[in-house]
């Protein structure tokens, strides 16, 4: 019996599928090597938020995801808990990524790398992390309207961030979302249905 050579991607990462299918995996190895061999400073690295420890995401990936979270979820203006300092969105992603099989984790790393480094004439070949707020937003919007794999990548990264912010119950009261209710409401269990009458 053979094992699947690549584990399926979690649903919210499905948009990364084109990356794996377009022979980008080899690039991921290169990207990974670049990141671990000291090139990280080239990518405009900032300090990771607060003192959170990350076990799965690399520091540069934390930077990219943190920056995208800031651009995507400017929560404070809306009276919702901060998406970077109160709700640990990036940390939640890190925890989630720990549960990914290795190849999925690699693909996500590749996706983040491509997203940050995608050279675009209109952005003077800058990395995403070094774009101003306005330019960063423009970049995201351009990616969403871009080529097939750009759209998939953007959909995925946005889903990953949104999911890991709104799954935190601190975000619920502000939206009047009730979360799990059966126990709170004390809904009685019915058990198995009786056998049908012959």
């Amino acid at each position: 019996m053979k094992n699947n050579n690549r584990a399926p991607l979690p649903g919210h990462l499905a948009g990364l599928e084109p990356l794996s299918r377009r022979g980008f995996l080899r690039a991921s190895v290169l990207a990974g090597a670049a990141l671990t061999s000291g090139c990280a400073s080239l990518f405009g690295r900032k300090d990771a938020p607060e003192t959170l420890q990350y076990y799965s995401l690399k520091p540069d990936e934390v930077d990219v995801i943190t920056r995208l979270t800031e651009i995507m979820l400017p929560t404070e203006r809306y009276g919702l808990p901060s998406s970077t300092t109160v709700v640990p969105t990036v940390k939640n992603i890190d925890i989630m990524a720990q549960r990914f099989p290795e190849q999925t984790r690699e693909l996500l790393g590749l996706g983040i790398w491509v997203f940050n480094n995608r050279p675009m004439m209109s952005f003077k070949f800058k990395k995403f992390t070094s774009l101003s707020d306005a330019k960063a937003l423009e970049y995201v919007n351009a990616m969403q309207e871009g080529a097939f794999f750009e759209r998939g990548l953007m959909t995925t990264l946005k889903a990953l961030i949104a999911l890991n912010y709104w799954r935190d119950e601190r975000t619920w009261p502000g939206l009047e979302y009730h979360g799990p209710v059966t126990e709170t409401w004390g809904v009685r269990r019915l058990g198995n249905a009786p056998l049908p009458r012959a």
Binding site: L137, Q144, R151, L175
Partner: protein
Amino acid sequence: MSQVKWQASGLQVHQASDVTSEHIALEADVVVVGSGAGGAVTAYELARMGKRVIVLEAGPYVPSQAFTEDFTESLHALYQDKGGQANSSGDLLVLQGACVGGSTVVNGCVCFRTPDFILQDWQRDFGLSELTEAELAPYFDEVEQNLSVHDNGEHEIARHGQVIRAGANKLGWSVKPLRRNIRQCGLTGHCLSGCKTERKQSMLVTYLPWAQAHGARIYSDTRVEKVVTEGGVASGVEAVVTRHDGTVAATMTVKAPRVVLAAGAVQTPVLLLKSGLANRSGLVGKNFACHPSLLVAGRYPEPIHPWRGAMLGVHVDEFMHPDKGGFILEDGGFGLVEMTMLAEPGTGKPFMEYMENARYLAGLVTLIHDHNVGAIEWDGERKAINYQLSDADFPSMKRAIKAAAKLHLASGATEVYVPASDKRVIRSEADIDLQVDSLENDPQHLRMVSYHPQGTCHMGADPDHSVVKANGETHDVPGLYVADASLLPTSIIVNPQITVYALATRIARHMS
């Protein structure tokens, strides 16, 4: 016949954690692969006729009390590929349950009989002359009664259903309460994470306990890898029992003169392809259809709280017949996580405003009558779902989005969000064509979900042009049956569970 021993709650399931030997060898009259809609019904029908039945289920046994009502967790615990099953280009999430009870555990409870015009197509195009409305009616009657199927009562039509119904009435469109298989709905809105209080009449609390009461044995964590034949006739299966940490607990063989494949429309063809069986027509895995669905959300001036109340209340069947559009619209409740994944209101400020106003949103789920253009493939190592919305179906998809937008606006919505990869918001009737006509049928442009994979081992009279006979037996291998959604020769537009239950009942009766 052995004594009937029904238990009031839960199931006795042989799990990987119970395994003590490296190899398990079993014998039965019938081995059923998969415990979802088709598998559970077949197991019960045959067990109650006195057959020794073994059910093998690849997924875990998760008792109802363990359901968390957290959708992200549920995807991980209850769904195929931990909720990550997608087509090759990643723009269609193909959701299926993978646990004891299969997709019926996580489904939305909506119940429709196969429309007669679909049955007529099957009779005309596939030689399935036996499958008439009159022939199937008693089977539908029976399963509907067994599963407490009823029209939603007024209290089961949540606010999101009420506004949609009012809008449809205003437009003069036919709108009806949905029928659902539920007893005393708890109105928690968490159907897709499994029903914690056993009100959803899924296989987990109906046909499986009933099959067990009649002596059927159920093995979870047990993935069938191969169907075995002797002299060209089905003789059993080979399987692997896997612990939850991914390590192999045991191998298993089951000897049985009857093998029923009910692993769902993706895994059943994979199993046949792996086994090199029943593929004289070359059609195993082909003919895949899936009702690619969209969630079209609309924002209302007054609070809706789309997560409150029964998840699905009413449907618009005005456009159901292919001549009128070939789609239906169902009002759909949803939680925050689903909301973030399925719509694209823009990035930054517009996204925050969309979420901030989550309680003002109502959803419409579109289901289209897609053509069977997809294929499930097995390359020796992994399965692939090759499905791209066909150009022939794209106009249907656009018509469904337009109708959903029109309906939302008539219902009082001030904004409608097109579920595309880029931001498209409709604020008036004049915007509808503008925003929808410019959509392109390109991969990753629409955010599609399929809840209804079908068609990959379809029935038909001609062995060169179909995989399975009308009685469920494969044309090529005596004793090898298919009894799941793979059977359906064309997509049926409506939610398919009742069709699967009825066909599986009929197949089991013919087998016995």
